[in-house]
């Protein structure tokens, strides 16, 4: 039991990432307003990106820029001294994609508002059924 508890407390960041992800999923499913759904989608995306970036962290390492690179470029680089930059580069792409999806989603929400004069999902569905 003691070991199990310490395991949970040591990995506290993973539990908070899961919480954030579930907040986003709840907003996407249960919220009635279209803009609230889009906010939930963005929270979900950033939670996944946060998880990926946290896998590159090392204890006692510094940011992935070689110190005094112009002098000692011929020497071998100790990988344990630097944080793993591969997840950062992958997630940079994901951030740009998330802004693109946000722009498209908000543009569609504005179009829906101009047609149905409402952002609430139930009112829009009522108008579609009534037509």
């Amino acid at each position: 039991m003691e070991e199990f508890l310490s395991l949970i407390i040591e990995k506290y960041n993973y539990w908070i990432y899961i919480t954030l992800m579930m907040i986003g999923l709840y907003a996407m499913i249960a919220k009635n307003n279209l803009v609230k759904k889009i906010v939930g989608m963005n929270i979900f995306q950033t939670a996944v990106i946060l998880f990926y970036v946290s896998t590159g962290v090392k204890k006692g390492a510094t940011i992935p820029i070689i110190e005094h690179g112009h002098d000692v470029a011929h020497q071998a680089v100790r990988a344990a001294d630097y944080i793993n930059p591969l997840p950062h580069v992958l997630m940079l792409t994901a951030i740009v994609v998330s802004v693109a999806t946000l722009g498209v989603a908000l543009a569609i929400a504005i179009k829906v508002y101009h047609r149905y004069l409402s952002l609430e999902e139930d009112e829009i569905l009522e108008q579609i059924r009534g037509l």
Binding site: I16, T46, V53, G56, I63
Partner: protein, 81 residues
């Protein structure tokens, strides 16, 4: 990575996220989402991902908030939940 600072900012991120989806005003939701994005940027700077932090500060906290405020300006602030 200082774990006290990490935990503090993670709690702030969770509160900003919950506030952004619970507030009954879309402009308030947009502002709280901007605060959420900025906290996320600080978190990445703590983790040593400086390039991701730069991108999130300009694109996430800047452009996303402007997009949300423009969308709210073109539609309505009213929300039922």
């Amino acid at each position: 990575m200082i774990w006290q600072l990490d935990l503090l900012i993670l709690t702030l991120v969770v509160f900003c996220g919950i506030g952004a989806i619970m507030i009954r005003d879309l402009l308030g939701a947009a502002i709280l989402f901007g605060a959420y994005s900025f906290m996320m940027c600080l978190l990445w700077a703590i983790m040593g991902a400086v390039d991701v932090a730069f991108t999130e500060a300009s694109v996430g906290a800047g452009v996303s908030t402007v997009f949300f405020i423009a969308a709210v300006y073109h539609t309505t602030r009213r929300t039922k939940d």
